[in-house]
């Protein structure tokens, strides 16, 4: 009966289950920069035939296909999994890291978020610690060096105790997982007026601080990662919280509070011991 009623409603409304979408025309303004040291500039490309079903990166593919057919060099941008998990894609879209949708990486942003005739500005992450490699691709290896400085549990392969030897409360586990969801894209840095990577650092520190496995190196970890963060040229955190708003995984700034506690505790303990 319910289904028949629904059938009637649908028939009355004439609802199309998959409405067809009209192609859009946009004016793109894209940052082009040949190499790390070459001067860059915004270049304007009118582009039509864009389907609202396309993802933002597929729209850029479309632009690149057009450019290649004209014998021009395609726009370089980092991308890989295109399902919001690898953290490769990194675009400032109309001044927002990963564009207008909340909790969405550039690759999962779809063109239905834009309107026919829009002007769209596409730029690389802007931060001294993320130099431009070419066009929209940046060098985010600073993140790898921060992890290498201490973002791990220092155990070698082999000799691990049974996985169930160490019970972990579900709530700690969940909190660790919330932080561990970070994809290392760098949107937090791009969104921060200070170009601070504190949310990235905090996500790893907090992930491991919630778990018993992370305790032996907990203090050194916070010190080492923050130290490397500063040496890489990222700015300081002044609690503006733009990072949280831009994060495609919606990682909370509460983890920065956790990092601060660990950092202060370890600094104090170093002073007391010293």
């Amino acid at each position: 009966m319910e289904r028949e009623a629904a059938a009637e409603t649908a028939a009355v409304q004439g609802a199309d289950p998959h409405p067809t979408h009209h192609p859009m025309k946009l004016t793109l303004h894209v940052w082009r920069q040949k190499t790390r040291t070459a001067p860059g500039e915004m270049v304007t490309y009118p582009l039509d035939g864009i389907s609202p079903e396309q993802s933002f990166l597929e729209m850029l593919d479309h632009l690149n296909e057009t450019l290649i057919r004209r014998g021009e060099e395609p726009v370089a941008f980092d991308h890989d999994c295109r399902e919001g998990i690898c953290g490769s894609c990194a675009l400032m879209i109309n001044g927002l890291a990963h564009g207008p949708e909340r909790g969405t990486a550039s690759c999962q942003l779809h063109m239905r978020s834009f309107r026919d005739g829009d002007h769209v500005y596409v730029e690389p992450w802007r931060a001294a610690a993320f130099p431009v490699v070419k066009d929209l691709a940046t060098d985010r290896s600073a993140f790898d060096r921060i992890i290498a400085a201490g973002g791990f549990v220092g155990v070698n392969t082999g000799g691990a105790p049974d996985g169930n030897a160490l019970p972990i409360a579900k709530v700690d586990q969940d909190r660790a997982m919330d932080a561990a969801a970070c994809i290392g894209c760098g949107a937090c840095v791009a969104a921060c007026p200070n170009a601070s990577a504190m949310l990235f650092v905090a996500a790893k520190v907090s992930h491991l601080a919630q778990l018993p496995q992370g305790q032996p190196e907990r203090r050194e970890r916070a010190q080492a990662m923050v130290g490397q963060h500063d040496r890489e040229g990222f700015g300081h955190c002044t609690n503006i919280n733009e990072c949280q708003a831009a994060c495609p995984k919606e990682i909370s700034v509460e983890h920065i509070a956790q990092l601060n506690r660990d950092y202060v505790t370890s600094t104090v303990s170093a002073v007391v011991k010293g």
Partner: protein, 663 residues
């Protein structure tokens, strides 16, 4: 045309192989003791001497990342390469479901033997038994290792590890981290790798793509790479080379793989002497979001777990396909999986579900704008369990679906369609994971060994980490112990020659200056493979594919357009180079499918089906164990010669081959 024409009654269609020897090197003894015996008898290298050996690891997914970290911990000098900008981004990161392990934490009767048996049976008896048993044995160590690294596996309220059943398994042996298990396992391996990079034990080369393998007197001596930012083509010498370069699903253009996944490293190694095994074993996953248009660059997988609660259907009549799904009454719907496979229903295995979906779409009953889609309907589950419960279980998936399609799956059914997802075939390796080129080892999805003709859910992560953490570190040590350490200088003529060949190929691509983009060729190739070498294949479709692929390849070298130069980041050049290998490889894949005149696992030849009760073919694989119970390993014979098919016979001492039935 060796191996392509089998005369009836004359035995298997392969040469016994005079040029290439396939020695599986499986240790003696009862199946369950082989690995233990191997480790007891293997040769060792003392810790101080390990530093005299250099190992090049290519790829930083679960297999490569875990291997590079572990080898460095043991004391080897490790060079590690990935094409991504960071080793943390390899495609293992996108795996959603989970990782199997025979822990038996559930007290539900699991054991190493059961995991081994399920994997061999799931692979339709086309994998090497001893390798699979070893995989099941080390599966338990993987979980312990990952927990120690801080991988946040799901827990129960009592604090112990949670598990779930997956992919129709009767046991709850799958460990998981929400819907992002691959990410967390990869970050665990990446962090272990980063630690070794920080110590200086691993030298990491990101944005560095392998272009070729360097062999001297038949032994792997190093690799040639291109730095993707500077364009520099460069050689690296090593005592052993480890390929962990993933699968080749992107040969089909549209797949669930990341955009950058490619076959180049594996295929170029093949051209240097490494046999390529079972390339036709390609897995198609039934629950992906359908293609929405020509613009599409990849397909997105929706976790298979959705089939636990969703019902799959299409309209009974073609006339109803354009109607709103909620307006079609039950009587007008064909729940085709429930109808055809009453005991498994919507949980029928991946290959069977995929083919059934294709069938109903071929009949013109597919839904959605492209007509290539079937409904996955949660209305009954929501009515029974409540929307909240469904949201709890699948909330993130429903959200992802809505983001991509702008449709609310709580209100109307999802649309799904099968897509290429994983490739069981890969470079041939022996029990020690060494290819037919001495010194070249292959791990993870890039090798062929553990999944046979079909991979079970939650087994890919297990295999990648097993190879990297717990198998290769032993077998590589055993091999290196018999070698004298010392690098071939990179100005050796073989290095120079290989480097020049790789660089020339890039120059050649730039020089064509044609009219079509590399992506257009890639899409064309993918369409041919999907249409003719996809879910269902037959002699005619495969022969058509061979002709078409050759035609595309010919056109490619005369009409591809690659702007720019080879001196900086050039995504068109990268793509063109990868596509050029996919085209050659696509031919090998097709040839393998043609030569395997049986159906098994994911390889479905319409000519070879079981007969149903009604006397008609019933869509189930008809294996031919008498002639095809072997691994097909292809030897490259030169650019203008047909490759040679060799066979490694498979013997099953413990698991006796049975017929799969899911009725």
């Amino acid at each position: 045309m060796v191996g392509l024409a089998r005369k009836a009654g004359l035995g298997p269609p392969y040469e016994t192989g005079e040029t290439m020897k396939l020695e599986p090197k499986v240790p003696g003894g009862p199946l369950a003791e082989k690995w233990t015996r191997y480790k007891q008898d293997q040769r060792l290298i003392n810790p101080a001497n390990k530093a005299r050996f250099t190992v090049a690891v290519v790829g930083t997914g679960l297999a490569g990342g875990s291997a590079a970290a572990t080898l460095a911990e043991l004391g080897y000098r490790v060079l590690c390469f990935c094409f991504q900008d960071s080793p943390r981004r390899a495609h293992s990161i996108a795996a959603q479901g989970g990782i199997n392990a025979a822990k038996n934490y559930r007290n539900d009767g699991d054991s190493v033997h059961r995991l081994y048996y399920d994997t061999v049976k799931g692979g339709d008896f086309r994998s090497r038994e001893a390798n699979v048993h070893r995989l099941a044995e080390v599966s338990v160590d993987i979980i312990d290792q990952c927990v120690a690294q801080g991988v946040p596996f799901a827990r129960e309220y009592g604090g112990l590890l949670d598990t779930r059943s997956f992919g129709g398994a009767q046991l709850q042996r799958t460990f998981y981290c929400r819907g992002q298990t691959g990410q967390q396992l990869l970050l665990g391996a990446y962090q272990a790798l980063a630690r070794q990079i920080g110590y200086g034990a691993v030298k990491m080369y990101p944005r560095c793509e392998m272009l070729d393998l360097v062999t001297v007197d038949g032994r792997a001596r190093g690799i040639v790479t291109r730095h993707l930012e500077t364009g520099k083509v460069e050689s690296f010498a090593a005592d052993a080379v480890v390929l962990a370069t993933g699968g080749y699903a992107n040969a089909f253009y549209l797949s669930t793989n990341a955009n950058g996944c490619n076959v180049t490293a594996a295929y170029r190694a093949h051209k240097r002497g490494a046999a390529f095994a079972n390339p036709c074993f390609t897995q198609i996953h039934p629950t992906c979001i359908p293609v929405s248009g020509d613009h599409q660059a990849k397909l997105t997988l929706m976790s298979e777990s959705l089939r636990n609660d969703g019902r799959v259907w299409v309209p009974k009549s073609q006339g109803d396909v354009g109607k709103h799904p909620t307006s079609i009454p039950d009587a007008g719907r064909d729940y085709f999986l429930e109808r055809k496979y009453p005991s498994y229903g919507n949980l029928a295995p991946r290959d069977i579900s995929s083919r059934s979906a294709k069938e109903v779409c071929d009949e013109g009953r597919g839904v959605g704008p492209s007509g290539r889609g079937v409904y996955l309907d949660f209305a009954d589950a929501i009515r029974r369990q409540g929307e909240n419960r469904i949201r709890e279980k699948y909330g993130n998936l429903f959200e992802m679906y809505e983001r991509i399609t702008a449709e609310d799956a709580y209100r109307q059914p999802m649309r799904i369609y099968p897509a290429l997802h994983y490739t069981m075939g890969g470079l041939w390796v022996d029990y020690e994971l060494q290819s037919t080129v001495p010194g070249l080892f292959v791990i993870g999805e890039a090798n062929f060994s553990d999944h046979g003709a079909n991979r079970l859910g939650a087994s890919a992560l297990m295999q990648g980490l097993a190879d990297g953490y717990f198998v290769l570190p032993y077998t590589l040590t055993n091999w290196l112990a018999g070698q004298r350490p010392g690098l071939t200088p990179t100005d050796h003529p073989e290095f120079k020659r290989t480097e020049a060949e790789a660089a020339d190929r890039l120059k050649k691509l730039l020089a064509v200056k044609g009219k079509k983009t590399p992506v257009e060729f890639h899409r064309q190739l993918g369409q041919v493979l999907w249409d003719h070498v996809g879910m269902a294949r037959n002699r005619q479709s495969l022969e058509t594919a061979l002709q078409k692929i050759r035609a595309i390849r010919e056109e490619f070298w005369g009409n591809v357009s690659v702007p720019g130069n080879d001196l900086d980041l050039n995504s068109a050049l990268e793509r063109a180079n990868r596509v050029s290998d996919f085209m050659e490889f696509g031919e090998l894949l097709t040839r393998d499918a043609l030569a395997r005149e049986e159906s098994c696992g994911a390889h479905f030849r319409t000519e070879y089906q079981q007969t149903g009760d009604d006397g008609n073919p019933n869509g189930e694989c008809e294996r031919d164990d008498d002639h095809y119970q072997h691994v097909a390993a292809w030897e490259y014979a030169g650019p203008d010669r047909d490759p040679v098919r060799h066979a490694e016979p498979l013997a099953f001492e413990v698991a006796k081959p049975t017929r799969r039935s899911y009725k």
